[in-house]
């Protein structure tokens, strides 16, 4: 059992790597399509090997570390960024049986572990001893902590309704009604906050090329850089999965179409979320730093608190109450 | 949990509820008010709340002990009497700040009053707690509010420094207290003081004696910081000096009193049963006495070298903390009565002294001793009141300070701890020297200016209450003695009903 699971974990790792490879390509293709251009199309049929080629290129790149950098931390930062990104996947229930670690405090675990990445970003920015990197790192940290609050608070409504922090039980609680409906406000806040947490457009300020060259990873090259990117895309995976679990009913079928296996339902919903994220990137311009912070504190946080209020109050209303 | 929270008799908590409501109201009003509106009436509101809470306590003084919230909250004699002192002190300090505080460079008036309320709320919770968790939460509410209060003049470097030192050393002391509490919990599996009381003896006898003692030492280390007893007193002088005078008065009076409530309750209740194993006799009493003696010696000796009045008061306060520890340490027969009497006296005289210091400091624009030079020529009445207050601090009849100290001393003699009694009286004599420095300055030195001091009416009232109280308590302490004497102090040490579960 244990060994089987461990092998499963290794398989999961490779699935993730595969997902990232495809996701990068998919993203470029989707954006290209939306912006009426072609996207990668040279390497392999339909450009399918483009990402593989990129990774290979990075593998063969010379590894440079700036003389003035703090070497230990500089080298540790990418690892620190990737490790939690992968570790959070452990608690995601893909189907009733396919969950690697079914712990009681799954959601809390996710929130806690995912915030470690903030530290990695700061460490990377700081240890480079480069002004752009430092500024990027600081900004990124400020942004991530600002959005973590609404993110964390937006799911309180879900927890109240499900009465559990276990992700499997949360999914199970959505058998009748996905939480996206009663918790729509929470969902909106969660979505916006999660996009920001992912440092993705329109909230990709830490790596704003026009202002900060490349943000906290200016000095990174080769595989070290690759791991920062990898972490980002693994988070896209994890966050999309979490969104699916928390608000979209996880593996629960729609319209009673139970003959379709749960995993398929999960993947369908998951892909929609991922697509949505790419879509955002193609559509929105980047916001300014001050707008970003104001949105987080002055809009999302009050909304998240309001959502908690509403969740508690609406429960007292007849008929609707049972969904809360 | 079955005993629904809603069905609890909340009326016992009225003082705290008044305070918390007022505090919440205050901060909301502060939010809603335009910036340019005067915040003074918020202060009056705070005063009203404190007086209201105090009146409630006073009216129910001597009422039977009530246990609430599964025994974590109780209104026993310690709670009642300490609360009265705390609320009285806060009321005086609020009055003081209302009449003169806005000239002390405190810009955030609304927050100032709010923080005072929050602090006294914490203190009040502390006195009423019979559970380590609530005790700790109360303590921290008081401490954290005090940290901010100490640094509320944020545009001044000395205030920043004072607050910084306070927060760092306060944090360390909290950590020590908590560390000690964690062992208490580990040994007894409960945070309820009375459950702990019963189980700790068993733990002591079954081979965990070192841990029991460790918990005591760690907590005493932390408490030492909170009551500013030597050798954990380092923060006090800087904090007293850097804080606005009204806040210094608050720290000197309310914080210290609350900390004594904490020490008394925890040390006494938790470790009381160990008396049958001679632990008190052999370890706890000597430990506390050494702290007390060190405080007296260090406080009084270092005070001799001070030139800044508030620093001097800090060291004086350290010495006074030593005196007040004596009854607890010696487990004297009038432990509670004498401690409370002295704290009450200390409240009156200290608030009075700080009120005078505030006026003088503002007039001279500095806080050195020379600010008092020739005060007698300028304002004889102020000088006279200050003299009485200082004499009381020095423990000279016919003041409350004298009688209080005599009362404390008797505990030491009665329990045959002669050496601490000797230290007490000898250091008291040493203290004459620096307390009389006020008198030397006021009467023996020429005045740099001729004009009389301007004293706002509120400050005058506070000084008046301080002096009248000090002399009155010194001459006719009977009323207070009887009020304290009629309380059933035994209830403090044991639960009246069956002890609650873990």
């Amino acid at each position: 059992m244990e060994i089987g699971k461990t092998i499963g974990a290794v398989v999961m790792l490779f699935i993730l790597l595969g997902f990232v490879t495809m996701a990068v390509l998919f993203e470029r293709k989707v954006i290209g399509w939306m912006q009426s251009r072609v996207g990668p199309n040279r390497v392999g049929p339909w450009g399918i090997l483009q990402t593989v080629a990129d990774v290979l290129k990075m593998l063969f790149k010379e590894d440079t570390v700036p003389h003035k950098a703090d070497h230990t931390l500089f080298k540790a930062a990418p690892i620190l960024a990737f490790m939690p990104a992968f570790a959070v996947v452990a608690v995601i229930p893909f189907t009733p049986s396919l969950v690697f670690s079914d712990i009681a405090v799954g959601l809390l675990y996710y929130m806690a572990v995912s915030s470690i990445t903030t530290i990695a970003v700061m460490v990377g920015g700081w240890s480079s001893n480069n002004k752009y990197a430092l500024l990027g790192g600081m900004r990124s940290a400020a942004q991530m902590i600002s959005y973590e609050i609404p993110l964390v608070m937006s799911v309180v409504g879900v927890i109240m309704a499900a009465g559990s922090l276990n992700l499997k039980e949360i999914v199970a609680a959505q058998a009748d009604m996905w939480f996206i409906v009663p918790q729509f406000l929470g969902f909106l806040v969660f979505l916006v906050a999660s996009v920001s947490e992912l440092n993705r457009t329109p909230f990709d300020l830490p790596e704003a090329e026009s202002e900060l060259v490349a943000g906290y990873h200016v000095e990174y090259s080769g595989f070290r850089f690759a791991f920062f990117m990898l972490a980002e895309y693994v988070y896209v995976f994890a966050m999309s999965a979490l969104t699916t679990v928390l608000f979209l009913g996880g593996w629960n079928p729609v319209f009673g179409l139970t003959f379709i296996p749960p995993i398929v339902w999960f993947v369908i919903k998951f892909v929609i979320v991922v697509f949505f994220l790419f879509w955002l990137r193609a559509t929105f311009p980047r916001v300014r730093m001050d707008q970003l912070m104001q949105l987080g504190w002055k809009v999302l946080l009050p909304l998240a608190l309001l959502n908690i209020f509403l969740s508690a109050l609406l429960r007292e209303v007849p008929f609707i109450g049972r969904f809360y | 949990m079955e005993k629904a929270l809603a069905h609890i008799d909340w009326s016992a908590m009225t003082p705290e509820l008044i305070l918390v409501t007022a505090a919440a109201l205050l901060i909301v009003l502060e939010l809603l008010l335009p910036d340019e509106t005067s915040r003074d009436w918020l202060g009056w509101l705070a005063l009203l709340a404190v007086v209201g809470a105090g009146t409630y306590v006073a009216v129910h003084f001597g009422a039977a002990t009530v246990d609430l919230l599964q025994g974590s909250y109780r209104t026993d004699p310690v709670a009642q009497s300490f609360k009265l002192v705390l609320l009285g002190g806060t009321a005086l300090i609020l009055l003081l700040s209302l009449s003169g505080g806005n000239r002390e460079g405190i810009r955030a008036r609304g927050e100032y009053y709010f923080l005072l309320l929050a602090a006294v709320l914490g203190a009040s919770v502390m006195t009423s707690s019979a559970d380590l968790v609530t005790l700790f939460v109360g303590l921290e509410l008081l401490s954290i509010s005090s940290y901010i209060l100490a640094g509320i003049r944020k545009q001044r470097t000395d205030a920043n420094e004072a607050a910084w030192k306070y927060v760092v050393l306060g944090g360390v002391s909290s950590a020590f207290i908590l560390y000690g509490m964690s062992f208490v919990y580990g040994l007894t599996g409960s945070t309820n003081l009375f459950v702990v009381q019963q189980r700790i003896v068993e733990a002591y006898q079954t081979g965990y004696a070192p841990f029991v003692l460790l918990s005591l030492f760690l907590m005493m280390l932390g408490f030492g910081f909170k009551i500013a007893a030597a050798p954990f007193h380092m923060w006090a002088p800087d904090v007293y000096q850097g804080s606005p005078t009204s806040v210094t008065a608050f720290l000197a009076v309310v914080s210290k009193t609350a900390a004594f409530a904490l020490v008394t309750r925890v040390v006494l209740v938790v470790y009381l049963q160990l008396i049958q194993l001679r632990v008190w006799e052999e370890i706890i009493t000597p430990l506390l006495l050494v702290i007390a003696g060190a405080s007296m010696i260090v406080g009084n000796a270092v005070a001799l070298r001070q030139t800044n009045v508030k620093r001097l008061m800090a060291y004086s306060g350290i010495a006074q903390a030593g005196y007040v520890l004596v009854p607890l340490a010696s487990l004297g027969m009038t432990l509670f009565e004498s401690t409370l009497f002295y704290l009450l006296a200390y409240l009156l005289m200290t608030v009075g002294v700080f009120a005078v210091i505030m006026v003088v400091e503002r007039d001279a624009e500095h806080g050195e001793f020379s600010a008092f030079a020739g005060l007698y020529r300028r304002s004889p009445l102020v000088a006279l009141t200050m003299t009485l207050l200082v004499l009381s601090l020095a423990g000279i009849p016919v003041t409350a300070g004298f009688f209080g100290k005599f009362y404390l001393l008797i505990n030491a003699i009665a329990t045959q701890h002669f050496w601490i009694a000797a230290v007490m009286v000898v250091t008291t004599v040493v203290s004459y020297f620096y307390y009389f420095e006020f008198i030397r300055q006021m009467y023996f030195r020429p005045a740099p200016k001729g004009n009389p001091l301007a004293i706002p009416i509120g400050t005058a009232i506070v000084i008046g209450i301080g002096v009248i109280g000090t002399v009155g308590l010194g001459l006719f302490p009977n009323a207070v003695l009887h009020a304290l004497g009629q309380l059933k102090w035994v209830e403090v040490l044991s639960v009246p009903q069956a002890p609650p579960g873990p």
Binding site: - | V133, I144, K165, S182
Partner: protein, 103 residues
């Protein structure tokens, strides 16, 4: 104490001592704050360990540690706020420069 708890106690004692050492020796004020946090967290280790392996194991320790965490956060927040004020006035976070009062 029961065997399993000893190692936790040792861990927390070590953490506590490191924190204390940091408070006493670190020159940077932020580090001092961190050290205090470390001390408080050492307590949490203790509490949680006792809550499972104490003489009377129960959940109270967990609840206590929740309060500890909150209080630690509040304390850190106040500490940082004071530090910001100090920095604005003095442009330093070196702890040994925060020392203008003597006596």
């Amino acid at each position: 104490m029961l065997m399993p708890v000893t190692s936790y106690l040792a861990l927390s004692a070590i953490l506590f001592c490191i924190g204390l050492y940091g408070v006493l020796t670190k020159r940077n004020a932020v580090m001092v704050l961190f050290s205090i946090e470390l001390m408080l967290n050492a307590v949490n280790v203790n509490l949680v360990a006792f809550s499972k392996y104490g003489l009377y194991a129960n959940l109270t320790g967990h609840i206590f540690s929740l309060f500890t965490i909150t209080v630690a956060a509040a304390e850190a927040a106040v500490g940082i706020a004071i530090l910001i004020a100090l920095y604005r006035n003095k442009a330093t976070t070196e702890a040994d420069k925060i020392n203008s009062m003597k006596g």
